[in-house]
């Protein structure tokens, strides 16, 4: 039964492409009011999962439901879900406005909505140019405008940062947060933790097609989230001072630097100053997603 909840429910989802098991036994829900991040390295099955949710790829096992029903049985899909996917093309000879007018007709959105979404993504000035001449970032914004045409309750985005400049990424981040705050759902994939870290309320992490973590972003990686690397005049003195401050994860790297886990640069810098140790270099290192996956899947973090 179709309910207007804006919820996505994935259960036991699997997809096999010949010999490749792209997705296996995947289960998670996307709740309204939240930005759900969908994380995984390249080839981990993110795109395949999103396309199964959107009825573009048929699952070999399990179900993916949008508001309680398969995508294909939605009466008015464009009014329920808007999607920005990789490999979503445009006819090069059609202008952005004409492209949107085609989609508006299909969705049943009124024509003035075309001008609204063009303004929303900042394409008004270029709306009557052929899309063939657009940059990657402009195409990405046109894809977002298309997704928003039907004023949907759910947004699904596959690596939307690709092709956007830093200002565009920041704008998108704010936009997605605002969209979720208005009580609607966002599912956004990325292969970079940093890209999603500031946006997502919850994350689903997949590795080789299977879920390895889901829940609060803060729960990811625990105390090993970051480490500080420091090059200084007297490593032994600084190490003692740090241990005295209660920092237990202090190691000496082969290149002579100190590695301090669970600390931040301010704390390490202040400690060095207090101990009278000259600091030549200080690097704050976020654990990258690859390390995180290794940790989550039981490997050894590098």
């Amino acid at each position: 039964m179709h309910e207007h909840t804006g919820r996505i429910t994935v259960d036991g989802l699997g997809k096999r492409f010949g010999a490749v098991e792209a997705v296996r036994g995947l289960g998670f829900t996307v709740e309204p009011g939240l930005v759900t991040g969908f994380l995984g390295p390249n080839g981990s099955g993110k795109t395949t999962t999103l396309r199964m949710i959107l009825g573009l790829v048929a699952p070999t096992s399990g179900t993916a439901l949008v508001e309680g029903v398969p995508f294909a049985s939605l009466d008015s899909p464009g009014r329920v879900v808007g999607a920005v996917l990789e490999a979503q093309g445009f006819h090069p000879a059609r202008s952005a406005r004409r492209h949107l007018r085609v989609c508006a007709a299909a969705i049943g959105a009124p024509d003035p909505r075309v001008g609204e979404v063009l303004g929303l993504v900042g394409l008004t000035a270029d709306a009557d140019r052929r899309v063939g001449g657009y940059s990657l970032g402009m195409k990405q914004r046109l894809a977002l405008a298309t997704a928003l045409l039907g004023d949907p309750r759910i947004l699904v985005l596959d690596e939307p940062g690709n092709g956007l400049d830093p200002a565009g990424i920041a704008w998108l981040r704010d936009f997605l947060r605002g969209f979720a705050r208005s009580g609607r759902s966002v599912l956004v994939s990325s292969h970079q933790l940093a890209e999603i870290g500031q946006t997502a309320d919850r994350v689903v992490v997949i590795h080789r097609g299977a879920c390895v973590y889901q829940g609060e972003l803060a729960g990811l990686g625990g105390g090993r989230r970051a480490r500080v690397l420091v090059r200084c005049a007297e490593p032994v003195t600084l190490a003692r001072a740090l241990v005295a401050k209660g920092l237990m994860e202090v190691d000496t790297l082969p290149d002579g630097r100190l590695s301090i886990g669970g600390a931040n640069a301010v704390l390490v810098g202040d400690t060095a100053l207090a101990a009278g140790v000259a600091v030549y270099g200080l690097v704050e290192e976020q654990m990258d997603l690859e390390q995180l996956f290794l940790q989550l899947t039981g490997g050894v973090a590098g």
Binding site: A72, G78, Q88, G89, H91, A93, R101, C103, A105
Partner: protein
């Protein structure tokens, strides 16, 4: 947002498909060769005034026959348009957006309907310019009487519309644009002719019982079926009711053709079969 009735869905899909078709040049870019071919074929009465001995250019049947010939060629362009329209979605990877904003089967049906309308337009363009060229160029040619002319126009619209639908089916099934267009052209312009020759090769044995069953199959191949339907009316005007069937045989290159209306049904069955296959394949295909 409550459930939209399916009539509303159909209307939305057709409107979207019309906008999709009209917002790119393809539809009139292919109308140009249709018109040019029709002009050049009809201005001299085509091949018919010379090949049919004893029939002068003043016979209205000649103009009807050359109009039928240009409609037959026009239907090839209608098919190419349908194939380009459907396979272009895969070439430009717009199929994802199209499927996200409308169901797969409604999209296929709306596309077939709009392509059929474009095919009908090609038929009308072909006849209008062909008539003009024929009356101007053939000098002594008389305007065909209304009955046969309207019959031919109706048949031409149906044949071009059905070929457009077949084109949509081929483009949806193959997805490769160049492949779909080449296959259509090679089939209609070469393969079916060769096939017809092979099928008829056994009928030259001089039996009084008429052509063997296998030769009769020629009338039921899709391009031949369209030609039989198109030449049905001109043949009767040219050769009279008694020898009309023989004229259709030689004009369409078939053996023992069924009546024109039956050939239209045959072509409609081909188009229906094509859409059914595209429906089944397109509904299950993974869009990755």
């Amino acid at each position: 947002m409550t459930a939209v009735p399916s009539a509303g869905l159909a209307a939305r899909m057709v409107k979207a498909e019309l906008r999709r078709t009209l917002s790119v040049r393809m539809w009139w870019a292919l109308l140009i060769p249709v018109v040019l071919l029709s002009l050049s074929i009809n201005v001299f009465g085509g091949v018919f005034s010379s090949s049919l001995s004893g029939v002068g250019g003043e016979t209205p049947g000649v103009l009807l026959a050359s109009l039928a010939y240009s409609l037959s060629l026009g239907s090839v362009f209608a098919a190419v348009h349908g194939a380009v329209q459907s396979s272009g979605e895969f070439r430009h990877r717009t199929i994802t957006t199209t499927y996200l904003t409308g169901g797969r089967v409604p999209v296929l049906l709306a596309r077939s309907g709009v392509a059929a309308a474009v095919g009908a337009l090609y038929a009308l363009g072909s006849v209008a310019f062909g008539l003009l060229a024929g009356l101007l160029g053939q000098g002594s040619a008389t305007f065909p009487s209304a009955g046969p002319l309207l019959g031919l126009i109706g048949t031409g619209i149906a044949v071009c519309a059905l070929w457009a639908v077949l084109g949509v089916a081929v483009g949806t099934l193959m997805t490769n644009q160049a492949g779909a267009v080449v296959l259509l052209l090679v089939y209609v312009l070469a393969i079916e002719n060769v096939l017809s020759l092979i099928l008829k090769s056994g009928s030259g044995s001089g039996l009084d019982a008429g052509p063997p069953a296998i030769a009769r199959i020629t009338s039921y191949l899709p391009a031949n079926a369209g030609d039989v339907a198109l030449y049905d009316i001109p043949a009767v005007v040219l050769a009279g009711p008694r020898y009309g069937r023989d004229a259709v045989e030689s004009l369409a290159g078939v053996a023992s053709p069924p009546p024109g209306w039956a050939s239209l049904v045959v072509l409609a069955l081909w188009a229906g079969a094509g859409i059914a296959a595209a429906w089944v394949v397109g509904e299950r295909r993974d869009i990755t």
